[in-house]
Amino acid sequence: MIARLLAQIGRPVLAVLAAFGRVTLFGADTLRHMVTPPFYGREFAIALLQIGWFSLPVVGLTAFFTGGALALQIYSGGARFSAEAVVPQIVAIGMARELGPVLGGLMVAARVASSIAAEIGTMKVTEQIDALVTLSTHPMKYLTVPRVLAATLAVPLLVAVGDSIGISGGWLVGITKLGFNSATYLKNTTDFLEFWDVGSGLVKGAVFGFIVALMGCYFGMNSGRGAQGVGAATKAAVVAASVMILAANYVLTGMFFTS
């Protein structure tokens, strides 16, 4: 009875640990291929465009509405202890440190991890990955490295743009609905925002970008057969990337802001 119960607990724990080990090895393999030639510049440029440029609208809109909603929340919450004036500072710090990178990362995870997993998974089930091998081209170098590198570089830029748009959203709500003076709002934002508030968000963005592309590639490369296999790989990539972003965010926040 107890042995069976332990087995029932142990089996999924072992499965999760094994999966974590496989992902870690995949990540290490990706890093190893990143620093050894050949490099596929064209594939990197395409991935940069797909992951970075085409994610701008969704990240921008998310940041804009989040910045606006944050301003409203801080204003109404702050009113309870006469702290309505801190809206610009808290919006700026909240967007730069936390909401910009986390929401940006999650939006990119939804958009990019799914598309990478679906694309590579389809390539696997239609034997395109095997074809790459027979054409003396390593799939890790040709498919994984360009995407992971592009996401690691592009997501911090998206976060930076998202921070700016989010703060602008807060500013717009502040001056149109909350009665703030525009110049004062902007002065408070710039005076209280420190370099590391923004820098830490960009570092988080790079880590989240790495996670998103790695999960997309890992689940795509390990996709099961047929449409069902590709569908399952796509879903798993988005779920894993999202959970790992939130977990990594907690770890990084602890590292950056607790002494």
Partner: protein, 248 residues
């Protein structure tokens, strides 16, 4: 010459290859026949190193295929995949010239494109096809592009995986004739896996039948019809009854 000795491969409890012994002479066209799920594709992928055998040895010109420079080894091969396996994101000519554009002996783009167009012409496709994407082609045209890609770098050995699957009889005949012409013209060693008997008769110099994970019969195509093996006879005549169990 390609030699397989005692090649075993299992996937979990499923023992697909149980000791395959086979020799393909240089310049010969070997066709491997057998029912669906008998491990023909696995055998082919073992030779290419896409699947690692559990036991046994595979040599090309006496050299173990699992040792030595892998890129140099693969450069000697061309392969036509069952579904074409063309890269959707690349234009037709870029698919054909894929190997020519990469690696230490990469050609300039213009030269690679010219070679690709020449190979497309060789398989009966017009130069105007070169700038299309694979998704814009019919199944037969995709097979031809796959064939052009397989021969683009003039390989010593060409593998054909179910080259006529999904094609109408006329297009199948065209592809079979093209394969035969190209293999003879290039003097390449060819290994084809199929269960299409019209392909066997059109392409093969030698035939080997894979059944229950071993080579059940092998010999010249001309001796196939008169061979006394009941498994072979049931397969080539497509009989529902016989020693090979059908699933109803």
């Amino acid at each position: 010459m390609i030699t397989l000795s005692g090649v075993h491969k299992s996937f979990g409890p499923n023992r697909v290859l149980r000791g395959v012994d086979l020799t393909i002479a240089k310049g010969q066209s070997m066709v491997i026949i057998g029912g669906s799920g008998t491990g023909k594709s696995v055998l082919l992928k073992c030779v290419l190193g896409l699947v690692k055998p559990d036991a046994g040895t595979i040599t090309l010109e006496g050299q173990d295929v699992t040792r030595g420079d892998r890129d140099a080894f693969l450069a000697r091969f061309g392969m036509l995949f069952q579904g074409g396996a063309l890269f959707d994101s690349l234009r037709v000519w870029e698919n054909v010239a894929f190997r020519l554009l990469r690696g230490p002996a990469a050609m300039p783009k213009d030269q690679a494109r010219a070679v690709a167009i020449e190979k497309l012409r060789r398989v009966g496709l017009k130069p105007s096809v070169a700038d299309l994407f694979p998704g814009e082609l019919s199944g037969g045209m995709q097979k031809r592009v796959g064939l052009a890609r397989a021969i683009a770098a003039n390989p010593e050995v060409i593998f054909f995986d179910e080259p006529t699957t999904g094609l109408d009889p006329i297009m199948s005949g065209v592809i079979n004739a093209l394969i035969r012409e190209i293999v003879v013209e290039m003097g390449s060693t060819a290994m084809t896996i199929t269960h299409d008997m019209s392909s066997v008769r059109a392409i093969a110099d030698q035939v080997a039948m894979l059944h229950d994970g071993v080579i059940r019969w092998s010999g010249p195509v001309g001796e196939m019809d008169a061979a006394p093996d009941p498994y072979l006879q049931q397969f080539i005549h497509g009989r529902a009854t016989g020693p090979i169990e059908g699933v109803r």
